[in-house]
């Protein structure tokens, strides 16, 4: 029973601090802070790796060109026509999701309270309750990503079919399908967000149970599957489904 409480503590997001804006209290949870860390890392990485680009690539430019080429080829294969409009968006969410799903490998870094229990240094006790957990285990994050993807799909439909053509696509084979086509957008948001959220949360819970039962050696092997492989696979599936929806809207 004690472990159950600890597990609930682990999978719910904690409020670190809050600020008020126009009289509304806005809490900042650890999900947001981990996302800020990832965003800062990606921004610095992008700036450092794209400075002084040369025609003939050498050194670090090779790495960036490999990544960009992979994303371009992937988008070209799945989206088809007009892929160059969507490659930046697809690549951005792909890299972001990979890093935020796989960041749970850093979950072994102990919290301040655990460090205090080990070392009895007073400094660690006063640290806020913060540990790195994947931001995609919070349903708010994945719901935001899914809404962004569906906005992108709607934009693709309007941009390449024109507004009348996009409206017409709702009644395309026969007008009876209109309610289904409208609910399809809502169902896509739900299925995209819950698929990512459920998979990451499931892997996270399993890893927490393993850390609790067998703290040594065995988590290392399972972490490769549950943190790295599952994280990359789910990120891939998310962008794959997004690009299929975009391809359907563009056709």
């Amino acid at each position: 029973m004690e472990f159950g409480k600890e597990l609930v503590q682990q999978i719910s997001s904690h409020e670190i601090f809050s600020f008020s804006l126009f009289g509304i209290n806005i809490p900042v949870t650890d999900t947001v802070i981990v996302m800020w860390i990832i965003m800062a890392f990606l921004a610095v990485f992008s700036i450092i790796f794209t400075r002084r680009l040369k025609l003939i690539p050498e050194g670090r430019q090779n790495i960036v060109e490999t990544i960009v080429e992979f994303i371009n080829n992937f988008t070209k294969d799945t989206v088809g026509h007009h892929w160059e409009h969507f490659a930046p968006y697809i690549g951005t969410i792909f890299i972001f999701l990979i890093i935020s799903n796989c960041i749970s490998v850093f979950a072994v870094i102990p919290k301040g309270e655990e460090l205090y229990r080990l070392t009895h240094v007073e400094f660690f006790r006063n640290l806020p309750d913060f540990s790195i957990r994947p931001p995609t285990k919070d349903v708010n994050t994945t719901m935001c990503m899914a809404v962004m993807s569906i906005i992108m799909v709607v934009y693709a439909g309007i941009r390449f079919k024109g507004f009348p053509g996009w409206i017409k696509s709702f009644v395309e084979p026969i007008p009876v399908v209109l309610p289904m086509k409208i609910t399809e957008y809502l169902i896509r948001i739900l299925s995209l967000s819950f698929r990512l959220f459920g998979n990451i949360l499931g892997a996270f819970i399993i890893m927490e149970i393993v850390y609790f039962l067998m703290p040594a050696v065995i988590p290392a092997g399972l972490s490769i599957y549950f943190d790295l492989f599952d994280g990359v696979l789910q990120a891939f599936i998310f962008v794959f489904l997004t690009s299929i929806y975009i391809a359907e809207a563009v056709e």
């Binding site: 819950f194 698929r195 459920g198 998979n199 949360l201 499931g202 696979l233 599936i237 794959f240 489904l241």
Partner: protein, 76 residues
């Protein structure tokens, strides 16, 4: 039998039954994918891509069961 153990059984059954069905689904999809990849090795890449898509769609049902199980457990 008190209500707490009933809740535990309900959450477990939700995940177990749906997980069984999803496992059968993914198994059938993988069987066919392996068969067709063995018959046509040059199409293996596109078969893998379709397999990943289908497996993710099947797996989503198991994930929904997990979420429903968590909701049953934590909203008493």
């Amino acid at each position: 039998m008190n209500s707490e153990s009933l809740i535990a059984i309900a959450a477990g059954a939700a995940v177990a039954i749906t997980g069984m069905a999803a496992a059968f689904g993914i198994g059938a999809a993988t069987q066919k994918a392996v068969e067709s990849a063995a018959r046509q090795p040059e199409a293996a890449n596109s078969i893998l891509r379709i397999l990943v898509l289908g497996a993710s769609l099947v797996e989503a049902t198991a994930v929904y069961a997990l979420i429903i199980g968590l909701i049953i457990l934590f909203t008493k």
